[in-house]
């Protein structure tokens, strides 16, 4: 771990009893959903983490508790440091408080997570889907959402597959 990161990790451990993992010099801190806004505010105000570089999630289906990790990748320009915060969320009605009032960038990124993973952000000012059409069902980046494919047509089964294709029918 970078020497400069040690006091930051220590303070998060003290304040939020966060656990941490380390891999290839990257530090991943785990905090509870209800603590995330306080943790982000602390990192931004006390430790100069000005940029929320990435905000995304990982789905560990079929594991249910926790099913998702919401990942906050933070960058400090002043100190040239990075730290990752992960928030484990359960599978049934996943909910995390919104971080839009800490970082404005969270607005679109949280809408993306709502769209792609179905994770809801409490208090989000504009909870609409962002990439998929509004009337779409399901959340594409969840592991239980099928990828889908088109059957390859050959000469011998061309017509048979053609019949099954969802062409517009009049």
């Amino acid at each position: 771990m970078d020497k400069k990161l040690e006091p930051i990790v220590k303070s998060l451990q003290d304040k939020f009893s966060a656990t941490f993992e380390e891999f290839r010099d990257e530090v991943h801190l785990f905090v509870k959903p209800e603590q995330i806004v306080d943790a982000l505010t602390l990192l931004r105000d006390e430790y100069n983490f000005e940029l929320l570089s990435a905000l995304t999630a990982v789905d560990y289906y079929p594991q249910e508790t926790p099913r998702f990790h919401v990942v906050y990748q933070l960058t400090s320009i002043a100190k040239n440091l990075s730290v990752q915060i992960r928030v484990p969320v359960n599978g049934s009605s996943p909910k995390v408080p919104t971080a839009t009032h800490v970082y404005d960038v969270a607005n679109w990124r949280e809408r993306e997570l709502l769209d792609m993973f179905g994770i809801e952000f409490d208090g989000h000012p504009d909870p609409r889907r962002i990439l998929s059409p509004e009337d779409m069902e399901g959340h594409p980046l969840r592991k239980d959402f099928p990828l889908g494919y088109e059957e390859p047509q050959f000469t011998f089964n061309f017509d048979e597959i053609d019949l099954r294709k969802p062409y517009a029918k009049e």
Partner: protein, 409 residues
């Protein structure tokens, strides 16, 4: 036939001002098909006469599920998806991806491959900025810029074709090195470009930098202050034009960028003109890097010798049993990465291009998240266009330099 719904204002009620509800201001769609939105982007504008009161970007028209598709492919095969991401910067996307994979499996890259990566990535940065300069010239009614810029871009694409066989979707960088060594004509082609290009940038600047029409359209337009930029996660030239000296090539050098002498151009004004100046200056700096990297380019292998991750050369397959086995295993099953997660970022022409790559011990990535710079840079648009004219919106949008493939993924 599905029913066509009448779209009311209800969905956007919380995003527009109260005057829109009474009909005092007008709501107008700009796009999805519009020459100045640089792709399929829809902007819902609330207008008071010709003044923009609110701007609501609507994205997703180009969403192709690249992240989901990558999860279904092996590490080598997922790379071709990254070319299609930011189609003005395929080589830079390849670099971001292969560096993430190399970090995940802890793979070293030979020095010659690093040098080639730097040369090609910087050429790609120049070509991306040339497209930006040409198209924003078009937006500001400087028609000839488009033709001049695409002339030089063609020369760069020819170099890509020379090394990889493809002009755009190259997939030339591979985990552990590059696909194959460059042909002998490569050095001359790059030297020709280095010789000709500074004069051409001078020509562009003669046409634009002090052009009163350009100054009228750009000075003081679309000001982005530092606090807003940081809060919205803006990176790349827009952030540097606002006065923050943040370039990952300098701050966290990768691929041996620390060996090269170059400056990071910054401005403090944060307006459209500052973003223009920063990018033009960046083209000159990139050319400096290309020249130094070409002079320093060492001889040697271009692919790592680690056979657990990198396929053996074709010539070995006929004479070595192990090579045949490695070749077969790597192209059928692929290599496995540890059950861990990394985040790796490079400086793309548009900003920080980051990858969150998570392995599950198998040969396919468990999760790939692409942190694309255009996505966050576009989010700030609604803040900086308020109070400007619709015509200025066109100038501001092109000065942010978005690529819709990069936003929608």
């Amino acid at each position: 036939m599905s029913q066509i719904e009448e779209v009311g204002l209800d969905k956007f009620k919380h995003l527009v001002s109260e005057r829109a509800l009474t009909g005092e201001t007008m709501l107008l769609n700009m796009g999805p098909q519009h020459p100045s939105t640089h792709g399929v982007l829809r902007l819902l504008l609330e207008l008071d006469g010709e003044i923009i009161v609110n701007c609501i970007p609507d994205i997703g028209y180009l969403h192709t599920g690249i992240e989901k598709n990558m999860e279904a492919k092996t590490y080598q095969k997922a790379e071709v998806m990254t070319d299609r991401l930011d189609y003005m910067n395929p080589i830079g996307n390849n670099l971001a991806y292969v560096m993430a994979v190399e970090k995940l499996v802890d793979l070293d890259v030979p020095a010659r491959a690093q040098g080639l990566r730097v040369i090609l990535t910087e050429l790609q940065r120049i070509s991306s900025h040339l497209v930006w300069l040409g198209t924003s010239g078009l937006d500001l009614a400087a028609m000839s810029m488009f033709l001049y810029c695409f002339r030089e871009r063609e020369q760069i694409l020819d170099i890509f074709e020379l090394v990889s066989g493809q002009r755009m979707m190259t997939t030339y960088f591979r985990p552990g090195g590059v696909w194959r060594d460059v042909p002998v004509e490569f050095e001359k082609a790059v030297r020709d470009f280095i010789k000709i290009f500074p004069k051409r940038v001078d020509q562009y600047e003669t046409l634009l930098t002090k052009n009163p029409f350009l100054l009228d359209r750009t000075l003081g337009i679309g000001k982005l202050d530092v606090a807003t930029a940081l809060s919205f996660g803006v990176t790349g030239p827009p952030l540097r034009a606002s006065g923050i000296d943040w370039d990952l090539r300098k701050a966290r050098p990768y691929c041996g960028y620390e060996q090269y002498d170059f400056n990071v151009p910054t401005r403090t004004e944060g307006d459209t003109y500052a973003r223009y100046l920063v990018r033009v200056q960046e083209m000159r700096e990139s050319l400096k890097i290309v020249e130094q990297a070409l002079n320093k380019l060492p001889l040697g292998p271009v692919r790592s010798g680690n056979r657990k991750f990198v396929t053996p050369p074709r010539s070995e397959i006929g004479v070595s049993m192990e090579s045949l086995i490695h070749h077969f295993k790597l192209w059928t099953e692929g290599f496995s990465a540890p059950k861990a997660s990394i985040y790796s970022a490079v400086e793309s022409p548009r900003g920080e291009l980051g990858l969150l790559l998570e392995g599950d011990g198998g040969p396919k990535p468990y999760r790939v998240h692409l942190r694309t710079p255009s996505f966050d840079n576009l989010a700030v648009l609604s803040q900086i266009v308020k109070g400007h004219l619709v015509a200025d919106l066109v100038a501001i949008l092109s000065s942010i330099d978005i690529v819709l493939g990069d936003i929608d993924r």
